[in-house]
Symmetry: C2
């Protein structure tokens, strides 16, 4: 079906990379890309008001169909005039279909070609999600962009299982398209394929062929080594149409955003920046810092001098340190504001650099000063992954 009021216009391509700056038009306004979308799983970006999100520079946020279906119920949100009105946010919203959440339930769910029968993580009650029913739920919630219902197999499964999930995702994508009725909402397709380059290409090719107005890369950033994630992005992006937005699901660290943008990704979301904020981990230009560290006890400076966020403008690192040590909820808020503002400032710089053709230099410079995840941690992660690969048996085409 033809989406009404939806548009994606590329404004600049950056030489020597696949990075591009574009403008996404939705029923609730414009989104400039590349963009990071804060996650408001239960119709609230944890600890923040919609006005604070506006101050941070957020132009589009996420909500989750699975969670809202269980609580307060999609019927309740619909009765209250939809998600925008319900949560007091008048800018664009994207709803995830809940595919990832349902599959994360593990033994609480049973999948067949029809759909997924699962037990609520809240009260154990039994429910059925099918591609058609999920699209109907997303239409009732009323987000501007809605996601297809996919079968998201863990990357640790063997090729056969990954391939079966991918094929099912493809059939479900067709069913989602057939069920989609509201032209004011843009339905995005999700590509899968685990860590198998040929499956990634096949999936991107198949989903692209269905003609969605936008495409997501699912099943990545789930523990596989960064190099593998990068390769999978490259395989998928090579096949996806250049004139449609590309959305890398579940990615939200500064370094991963830059790597994604340089490989042609336009949209990102992740709970990471808000979740680590509540644990006291704060993004700074030199890397993550934990505000609980005793070194901050007497620092009468913002956590990041020069940052324009409310937290840095108003409070010292010493005060934030005190709030976290004293388990005060204001600390969670202030850290969340800082981390989200950090990512939005980063993406504004990225956009500007793409437009002026200097993105590659910007990325190199940023990554040179930003201390990413500890090398030891990354090596351990890679070894774990290699062991898992070996356990699947030799001779498979996985990277």
């Amino acid at each position: 079906m033809l989406e009404q009021g939806f548009d994606f216009t590329i404004q600049a391509n950056c030489p020597n990379t696949l990075a591009r700056a574009a403008r996404l038009t939705t029923s609730h306004g414009l989104v400039e890309t590349p963009v990071f979308m804060p996650v408001g799983t239960q119709a609230t970006v944890k600890t923040l008001t919609p006005d604070e999100l506006t101050d941070i520079g957020a132009t589009i946020i996420l909500a989750n169909t699975y969670h809202l279906y269980l609580r307060p119920g999609v019927d309740v949100v619909a009765a209250l005039s939809g998600l925008h009105r319900f949560m007091g946010w008048n800018r664009p919203i994207l709803t995830d279909s809940g595919g990832f959440q349902v599959f994360s339930l593990g033994h609480l769910r049973r999948v067949d070609d029809e759909g997924v029968v699962f037990k609520s993580h809240i009260d154990g009650s039994q429910h059925l999600f099918t591609p058609a029913s999920v699209i109907q739920l997303e239409e009732q919630l009323g987000a501007d962009i809605i996601m297809a219902f996919d079968d998201c197999a863990p990357f640790t499964e063997d090729r056969q299982a990954i391939e079966r999930s991918m094929e099912r995702t493809h059939r479900w994508a067709e069913k989602c398209l057939a069920a989609h009725q509201h032209p004011a909402q843009a339905l995005f397709g999700i590509t899968q394929g685990g860590t198998f380059p040929d499956l990634r290409r096949r999936s991107a090719s198949f989903i692209a062929g269905l003609g969605f107005p936008g495409f997501a890369l699912g099943g990545l950033c789930l523990g596989e080594p960064k190099e593998v994630m990068h390769a999978m992005i490259e395989e998928s992006v090579a096949v996806l149409p250049r004139d449609r937005p590309r959305y890398l699901m579940g990615v939200g660290s500064p370094e991963d955003l830059l790597e994604g943008v340089s490989r042609g990704i336009d949209m990102f979301d992740a709970v990471l920046p808000t979740r680590i904020a509540r644990n006291g981990a704060l993004f700074t230009i030199t890397g993550r810092k934990n505000i609980r560290n005793a070194g901050f006890r007497l620092i009468d400076q913002p956590i990041e001098p020069g940052c324009d966020c409310y937290t840095c403008q108003r409070f010292s690192a010493a005060y934030l340190h005190h709030l976290f040590k004293s388990e005060e909820l204001l600390g969670h808020r202030l850290a969340t504001i800082h981390n989200l503002r950090f990512l939005h400032r980063l993406m504004a710089h990225v956009r500007q650099a793409i437009t002026s053709g200097t993105f590659l230099a910007f990325k190199t410079e940023f990554l040179a000063s930003y201390r990413t995840t500890d090398q030891t941690v990354r090596l351990a992660q890679k070894q774990k992954w290699l062991i898992a690969q070996r356990a699947k048996g030799a001779g498979q085409q996985s990277m």
Copy 2:
């Protein structure tokens, strides 16, 4: 000593009651009374920023010497230029001495005439508070109004114990005055006396004689019946000088504020409005309502239509209900904002009514529609109190 920059000017007395409207001048600005002071125990009014407190209409807030002494340490606050700068609040602050908190530690403390030896509720480390040491701590914190260190015996103790505590409070009051050195801070005396009318009068008379610029009533609203609390306020106020502010410690329900004001109280503080907010209990003109109640599930109206608080202006009761059912921290914030704004609006009405001589009518009208604590609960509370009184032995002069 003479306080610099401190002043209390009565602007209106209300006929047929002891209610008065006044203006309190402190080093950090004006406070119009009667006033409710939100409690920021650990240098933060739980969940809120200073800017939100300003929006709510707060003109003075509390912080607690006991808590700040233990964490982050008074030396840390002092090194960071004092409490105002540390917490980003430029209006007046009152610090409680920590007397009540230390005595609430029960078996973790040992009192003698010198002071109190206590164990930290955080790490069990041992500390000593004396009247002089507490005043020094409060001077380092730098609040505009600081409280004397008192011996706050539980009202359930017998007359002899209450009297002994009171006498000790009196001797400590003298020591606090002698130790007080910073003229920019106004040191308030605290009167005690349990629920014994004659002790209340004696204590008020003694403390008044020491010439403090302001006076607090301690040891009330701790479980005694409302009638008893009212009588004790009356006994104390009858003796305290009319030209100085009177502060009823630990009182913060709408009905108690009105009863206090009508008996001549100018200042109040309590954790009640913010604590019950985090449990989902919200003040409305018809009484407290619990937002978790299923009846709010579909209410597309603010919790109190007509309320000008941020919460009521922006969100429906249904959304608040959802936030509480989903255990989202934004719910705590929004409920806290509403309850504090409710009390500040109430006190603004009270002030206006006093000035126009209609306070008594206002009070009667408000209490007629406001459903106070359930009668059953109050009766049970009264019976418990009577039993405790009987256990103390007959023939005592307690009310």
